[in-house]
Symmetry: D2
């Protein structure tokens, strides 16, 4: 990954797994654990393939919340071990990645243990165990993601760096900083000092907000005279009301988020903004489906020099509508139309904004 | 299918294929043809499986717009024939249906030929050809769907009945009637007289509107002293502004429909309403994903006596949120919360309704 | 009035009194009685003057709900009699009308007695008493308004015609008909047969809906071979959700109607539509302020040949903004800008439509 | 005024004049000059009376934009001098104030001269001339208002203090500071050092935002060890999108602001918030009608010990609806109903927020 980033390549990430597989019937909301890698490998494999086909250069292992402590609390799959899931997930990611020259990233996320014990020893032991599972398999680099305390992310980076592999680290924080108020710039500095090769933001907030936070990280690194690659994998939902707590504080979370879903045209704007901000690893998190990933690859096709496989089934900016039978739909086969459309919700009795349930930002 | 319906069973249909596979990267919007059955069988198979797992009792063949005339106009896949697609689609549907005791329905939809030639002979020849493809394979019954002129649907039914198999027929019309103004009640009468065993509505409009149209069909049949089973497979989008033209007239069609997507809770209301209206074949069309189908099966679990396999990954009415870490999310683990939620769009600069582009209803 | 209407003149009506004087502190919501004509004549006089200055050709007496039975039930002003109010109101209307060559219309509205007693004798006695008060003073013609049962309006017309004066009659009904379901066309026929010289609609629904109802009245009269002048005095609020019950069924009635208020640009559209429908007496009811009346006069200035006095303080279509200090405000000094503006509510947590509280239309 | 404020009295201000008189037909939008004081004294007198009756303890002279330079640029009334208007306005304010024991405030606002010449001498000469007009008449104190550069406000205060009278000074700025970025706290300090006895905010932004800005002023004064009374007279419109430029940057300004109008219930919340912030002079600006002023007086009735005259025509929290004929309207005769109502706009094709036209805040 570093070789490609150092060469100036734009890396397209993949999309979100748990919320999409929840909708497909393989993940349980509230638990959000990835036992489907063992129980229904064909479902995970297919989703990997969709992202690959859409242009993803990295396939992340489907190992979200797959630390032993989380699985135990969840109690969802008593007869499947974390090691089984981690190893199966590595195999699936590798199988699909190899179909298209993509890289495999082994992913670790925040542990319940951090908040309850706050013990560096215990938390690091958990990360170490998960890393060891990954190292039995063939992965290319690590991603630490969905961590909202920079301290825990630093611990994860420190553990993972002992493997000698490249490590990316993305926090799920807002422009206001992590859950203890550490500003994004300082978070970035701490992560890079801990050994992270790539830093950035994932999940919790909408694309433009996440890009804004990564910019703050970049400024922090520049002030500190440090260098790192930047990555961003935001939510695929509009979350203008959110503060520190992110989208879990919205009244619609997690079962009525449909209306907030971003369109492919929102993605064009996001991908351009991320690129202009100097971010070179651009993907998505919850809410990002294959067509969103394709939209990243299409927006940056000129810079990257090629279109993804899935673009054979997509007219750029709606071009394929030219053959529609209705004249008013044919009139939509152009960029201006979609760029300027303000999509209606179809729900006149619903508001456009909702008060977050948390008090973090107040 | 008739045996099960006659026995009073509630049949859960499957969801939408073309729009979902467009998002996954396998179908081209504007063309909407089903060559993926040949090109990417694993993608079609996986979507079939999601619907089966969600509770579908019928797997429809992925053969939308798969008439020779439509494929030719579309020009999308010059080296794949309609017969190849139809046969591959039958095999895929059968394979997955057999995994869960479901039935296979061979599906035909409206032909471009009807509007251009208006020739009964030509249109019937097209339907005959597609039927013959299906009859080479093992299907259980036929569904005529997405036809907006009752006359064309009658022709299709007449052709398909020559096979000796059960035929269901769903029009994509509004409560105002078909494109020539034939009211739903009269449409139903004509279809039943032509031989349809099951009649109803699919696509074009939102769930509650489609149920309303089926009710008008039922009234028409009762007045005429006719009997037939009823089915409904509506859009998974809110379309309060639409008139005769249906959702293709909305400014958001087809690439910015996200915000109109229905939630699983909307489905509960719809499934109950459809059941109360006496409809016993209840499914979905464009916009219906696996979790929407599961919601039908969950709403009618008491009537049917069981839950679908995918419910093992779903707490009813959000019950699994009880184990969430945030207290305000745990507070959402109850029916009242989700039933009464008015989801915000997160788009304060967007309106809630948009004027349809057509003039049909004026 | 008849002479002017027969000559083809477009008569501009005045606006709403009770809701406006409630906001100014002189009328009590819930009671809505017009004792201010006695208690605060300067406030009533000033509002009359604003309408006159805005272009009104008719000044209606401020005698809404001023029947003896209503005043008694209301209990609001025990020491002021209906006769006192009626006479004071006539004097005020006459005084201001004479300042600008306008006509005075003596107004009667629905009586509580109609619903409770349903006695033709009693209801007619009440109208007779109020008419006698008016006849002591100098009024030009009568208007029956805000009646939702055509039968009661017919009784009122029959009484008032005994005076020998011209009578206009406006019902507060929807396109679906009066409270007993009598359709607008039949209502119009009954009123004209009872002697009404002018018929139409006032209050309860928004401008475009009221024009639609008057069109139905016109069609009814034409089918019956009858002739009458048409008038319309709608609400100054957007009420897209309303059915038979009108705006009192909206959750916002009466103390949060602000956000539904129509703009002057909405009025241009309404005045043109009313004129095109053949309506020649065009005014307003609750929610119509002086600037709305001025907008009627401005939209129809070419047809009428002159502008009202208040237009000296108004640039047509925003023309006077040309001298604003901000360039972006100067850019609004043109018709296209205001005609196409979709005004934002500034309330992102509020919906755009609300369910009516009544069940009339279901 | 100082005696009353020092004694701890809560002073209720009056509402907005120019926008309200524009709607009534006496002020020209774009010019916004107060020649009506000479041309139509009865209209100004009546509006003064409505505010007095609603509970205002201060009647402001209707002298907005009444400096010689502004009148000249406006060119609206070539044959009426500024002195004539100023003197007529003082007489009108005094006449009405005396009807109810209110005070008269002579008001000066920002001058075009400040931006064009930036000359302290010239600007002060203009303020001096207007002050001299006022001093020929009987006024109680001065208010400097609607100034967006603190420097100009300081000059005005310095001039007006030479009269020996009390001076209040309100800026039309946002929490981000004045047009040159001077923060509210520092603005307050400068004004008090210049001699202002009362400082605060008026116009440009919605009530809660203005209270927030006054709080920042208060903090600034406390840090500087200074003391002054606080006042606030905000817009009567919701302006959540606005930044430095205030409401003139909204697309709806000035002719489609209806939908943003605040309700009387919004005022209750505002008045309480202002009171809790220690503000003791609480009134309104553009968009505040008599019933909004009454709502201030009603919310603070317990603290002040009495209700205003206009409350005789108002049931507190909708109490008078108890006698309405419809049961669902009677059910609204309670505080909880109105406090929790989220009023619908009745405009489903309109958005809830609009992008400001200026770039000040970016």
């Amino acid at each position: 990954i570093l070789k490609r980033l150092n060469a100036g390549e734009v890396i397209v990430g993949d999309g979100g797994y748990v919320m999409q597989l929840e909708r497909r019937g393989y993940v349980k909301a509230g638990h959000w654990t990835p036992e489907a890698a063992v129980e229904h490998p064909e479902a995970v494999r297919q989703l990997h393939r969709e992202f690959l086909r859409a242009g993803a250069n990295v396939i992340q292992t489907f190992t979200f919340y797959c630390s032993e402590d989380k699985l135990e609390i969840s109690g969802n799959v008593p007869n499947i071990t974390g090691a089984q899931i981690n190893e199966a997930a590595c195999d699936l990611a590798r199988e699909v990645a190899n179909e298209g020259g993509a890289l495999v990233a082994g992913c670790v996320s925040k542990t319940p243990c951090y908040v309850t014990s706050h013990s560096e020893t215990e938390v690091k032991a958990i990360f170490k165990k998960q890393m060891d599972d990954f190292l039995k398999k063939d992965i290319d680099f690590f991603i630490v993601e969905f961590v909202d305390h920079v301290e825990e992310a630093v611990w994860a980076v420190e553990v993972l760096k002992t493997s000698g592999k490249t490590v990316g680290a993305t926090l799920c924080i807002s422009p206001h900083g992590d859950m203890k108020g550490v500003p994004p710039g300082e978070c970035a500095v701490r992560l890079v000092k801990a050994g992270a090769d790539i830093v950035g933001i994932n999940c919790h907030l909408d694309p433009m907000t996440c890009v804004r936070t990564v910019k703050l990280m970049k400024e922090g690194l520049e002030k500190a005279g440090l260098k790192a690659h930047l990555m961003v994998q935001p939510l695929g939902f509009h979350t203008p009301e959110c503060n520190l707590g992110g989208y879990t504080s919205l009244p619609e979370y997690p079962f009525a988020m449909e209306t907030r879903a971003i369109t492919r045209w929102d993605i064009h704007e996001y991908a351009r903004e991320a690129y202009n901000a100097g971010i070179r690893y651009i993907g998505g998190c919850c809410g990002f489906e294959a067509y969103h990933i394709r939209a990243i690859a299409e927006e940056l096709a000129a810079e990257r020099g090629f279109l993804p496989p899935a673009s054979e089934k997509h007219g750029l900016w709606g071009a394929a509508l030219e053959m529609h039978t209705k004249p008013w739909v044919r009139a939509r086969a152009r960029r201006e139309y979609w760029e300027n459309l303000l999509p209606a919700s179809g729900r006149p009795k619903c508001p456009s904004m909702a008060p977050p349930a948390d008090n973090y930002g107040k």
